[in-house]
Assembly symmetry: C2
């Protein structure tokens, strides 16, 4: 075989093998060194290719794709700092446990660390923030396809083994960087895979059955990027415990009417109330998914130190930041819904939560008629959504979901980057989610986070999309006004507020996006109702950081007053 | 001492000690965890603070600052993916050997790897791309200041020891995140530093003296971010060898009239000519600085395999990508200008280069009257510059400097990010250079590179600046049209051209920048001559990728024809 034939066969086997194993999407950034593999991706049947010029945005886009599709997604870039730009999204994917399959093209060994251009040390480039990393052999020798396909299998199954996460494959190429487009590839001796599952042990099942008999139990559900199965709802109804549903649990959309009373969507606000907290100390707490967003919930658990606090986590790296857990069940949570449940009398403890929650939403309804802040505006958005996905920023937006997003039967799925909670890459993740779901998506985001990943908008020039972006522009870092730093006036604006004075009408023009602006609830509502005339619609709302804090706090104290009257 | 007192003293000692050791600038990105150190930076006398919301841009801005100032620059960010965003610029700084002092705030040990928000594994986060990395102790114990100041000394002197490079200091902070602004800090037992220098050994000096006697010698000067000293020019005049001056050697600006004949500023073009190459085989080549940009030069050296090819490199990691060097002098190049030189008869070999170079510039002058492409436009820009700095993109712009930037007495310094040659972060580096130099700066950049770091423009909203940005908008990746990939039409636009259709008038509006557009030489010249009315002036020129290649190649073949006539 000629060099060209060997190289062509190698990259064909590469992409073919990934597709065989379930990779459907690849996000490619332009570059020279990656040429043979980029060609193979374009040629490969069954692979959808996306392009992004900014590799940082590309990786966050891939993260959105994999989050929403539940499938591993391949990234491909050229050698040099291009690869380093993937790092933030890789870190996020590692903590969010998302299977990114990161492929970096590299220079051959004789051009590494010798002062050659665009050559950096890419071996283990992402350190401990990938689950596994390998440096592949040069595609220049015959008879290495069996190894190659099995090694890609190792990499991919590493990414897909629970807890999932990113892996990194570094591939050196020597010039000339081309393939023979006419060469036919016939796969041979590929490997098939049967995965195992971390099921509940008999011991843990019996243990859980005992716990379920308790009246004062709480089920906490953290982030779930895939909908929980139907048997979850049967289980919840039988269990009759309050289910504290994190904004990302995806238990606030698609909620069956009959199950609404179990879903406590207001616990973040409820647990701010001292009088409420005092009356709801649980005996048992069970958590699935990562630690919820809510700080009041974390403080509550740390304060009461529940006698039994069971955390489901498939990883030995138990997620328990307050060190409160008493039991770690290292198994998939799906076994939980199948634990046999005895029928029980109606649960007064659960009712206490449901009633407080109902009261909270009455207070919210009243509050929203009189007050105006980002949360109230957010509710206007939330109340309109159906048959769509909502991606929210990691800072104040996710907290406003906690405060203002009421459980609904409407079909809404929620996503955010809460693995490491960065404000970076959120725009790209939203485009990625939309690309995976192929239905309208909404991004609810602050001005700094939007600005940080404005390059995410490049996606709209590269592919079809349907995204509405709601920017809460409070000219700076809104969350800091809620933190103790805000009590110190010195340097507050320089270090925390960091106002840029930027607005985004011109950004919208640059990207041919529809643009609407709002300063009142009415303007905002009509901006949302305005028919969509472009693939990206931007609604920018100007708000005030200080006012947001006052108004949020007013809601919480109103609830406290109403509760006292009961 | 109270915890507050201990923390205040710790961060005060931190910033005081860095300033004592020569740090003058810090670039801060907003965040909560870094609060105590951010306050200390704001308070610290002798420290200039810059702010950037996008950490990727912040790090590239710091890179520009350190490049142009020759001083180490501190970076400060909060915990989480914020730190990961520094990675591309850190990689660039590592290969460009620039002393970035990277400080990342971290969560305390009990919040690491336990599922806490915004906590990632920051220990050795940047792997092998920093020279050294340390995780500092919690600022909660008295009597650790002597250790702290010495450890910061170790970190900083690591960054400043040749070859210079980035270092990383990770600092954990526990809540509450505040300091006592009134607390006075008195430094005590700080450490003073006397650095050594890697001087020429007597052996190497004698060896060089012998080499200097040869007639057919070439001196190649790669990137120099600081001007070479005056004795360099005396040396060059006595040596009477052709000096091949890389665009980044900073030997094309501030050239004494009498020395112009020695500076060969056209070798990239000359060495494309087979007939020229055949007549100029050298016996000795000496290189200082990294490998030049020019590919023809690299190919020439690899082809002729000079009998003696001496490379100066302070690092054991000899930069010699073609493996052609015969001697490695591991010492600072400043000793070279002091090697005694005997007076010699006029050098016919040097004259051959000077004459060819003169002929080349005559051909360029004629070519520029008839033809229009990015290079010709670039020359219009270059010919106008004086008392300013020019920052150029790493892809085609730097190559157009090689082709079109003629050595001049005018005061121009040139900068580019050629450590790893990424197209990322260039806008920010330009703002950083301008901030360090405090005089007008020009950025000459392609559309993709500009787009990649559009967030660099945020700097213009945070501080005074004076930057003119010339964007060559050929709607995509121009350099690929020069590469073999362009001969394959399939997928060329999707993978390499990657046109976005974006133009930048609205980006200019968004950032209140002056904006001018040009499509002809005349329009371009008058856009440049238009008085500057804002701190950032953007001149966007629309060019054609295919035409650029044709026109560049025409220039080179014209030169070949003229040379044949001689």
């Amino acid at each position: 075989m000629t060099n060209l034939e060997v190289l062509t066969e190698y990259v064909s086997a590469f992409t073919h093998s990934l597709v065989e194993q379930g990779v459907k999407d690849v996000v490619i950034s332009p570059g020279s060194r990656s040429t043979p593999l980029a060609y193979a991706c374009m040629k490969q049947e069954g692979l959808t290719t996306y392009r992004q010029i900014d590799e940082r945005s590309a990786a966050y886009f891939a993260l959105g794709l994999t989050k929403a599709s539940g499938k591993p997604v391949m990234l491909l870039c050229t050698s040099g700092t291009a690869a380093a730009n993937y790092f933030p999204a890789i870190v996020e994917a590692y903590y969010a446990r998302m299977p990114l399959f990161v492929v970096t093209a590299d220079r051959p060994h004789e051009l590494r660390e010798v002062g050659a251009p665009q050559a950096i040390d890419q071996v283990h480039l992402f350190g401990g923030h990938v689950k596994w990393s390998t440096d592949l052999p040069m595609p220049e020798t015959e008879n290495q396809l069996a190894f190659l396909t099995r090694h890609l299998h190792r990499a991919l199954q590493n990414a897909l083994t629970n807890p999932k996460g990113p892996v990194h494959v570094n591939v050196p190429f020597r010039e000339p960087l081309r393939i023979d487009f006419e060469q036919h590839y016939e796969s041979n001796r590929e490997i098939s895979h049967f995965g195992g599952e971390l099921t509940l042990s008999d011991d843990s099942s019996l243990f859980l059955q005992q716990l379920f008999k308790k009246e004062k139990g709480l089920l906490i559900v953290g982030e779930q990027t895939q909908k929980l199965p139907d048997e979850f709802w049967t289980f919840v109804e039988k269990l009759d415990w309050p289910v504290l549903a994190d904004p990302l649990s995806n238990l606030r959309g698609n909620v069956p009417q009959s199950a609404k009373k179990f879903i406590i969507d207001s616990y973040d606000a409820l647990l701010k109330s001292t009088q409420f907290k005092e009356n709801v100390t649980p005996d048992v707490v069970i958590r699935v998914g990562p630690q919820p967003v809510s700080k009041p919930l974390s403080l509550f658990l740390a304060a009461i130190q529940p006698e039994t606090y069971v955390v489901f986590d498939e990883s030995p790296m138990l997620r328990d930041p307050q060190s409160v857990a008493t039991h770690h069940i290292q198994a998939t949570e799906h076994g939980l819904w199948q634990v046999p449940l005895e029928s029980k009398p109606p649960n007064a403890y659960r009712k206490k939560w449901t009633q407080a929650s109902r009261l909270y939403w009455q207070v919210v309804a009243k509050h929203c008629q009189n007050e105006l802040d980002e949360g109230v505006l957010a509710k206007v958005l939330f109340d309109r959504l159906d048959q769509c996905d909502l991606i929210v920023g990691s800072s104040m937006p996710i907290r406003d979901v906690d405060t203002y997003f009421q459980a609904t039967e409407r079909d809404i799925m929620l996503y955010a980057n809460r693995g490491a909670n960065g404000i970076d890459g959120v725009v790209s993740t939203a485009f990625g989610v939309q690309a995976a779901k192929q239905r309208p998506a909404y991004l609810y985001i602050g001005d700094l986070s939007f600005l940080h990943d404005m390059n995410g908008l490049i996606a709209s020039k590269m592919q079809e999309t349907d995204l509405t972006i709601v920017i809460m522009n409070n000219d700076g870092g809104g969350i800091f006004s809620y933190l103790p730093q805000s009590q110190e006036e010195r340097y507050f604006e320089e270090l925390f507020g960091t106002p840029t004075g930027l607005t985004f009408s011109n950004a919208a023009k640059m990207y041919d996006a529809q643009y609407l602006v709002a300063e009142t609830v009415e303007q905002f509502a009509s901006a949302l109702d305005e028919p969509k005339t472009a693939s990206v619609k931007i609604v920018e709302v100007f708000t005030d950081r200080k006012n947001n804090v006052t108004t949020h706090r007013k809601l919480w104290s109103c609830f406290d007053e109403e509760l006292a009257k009961q």
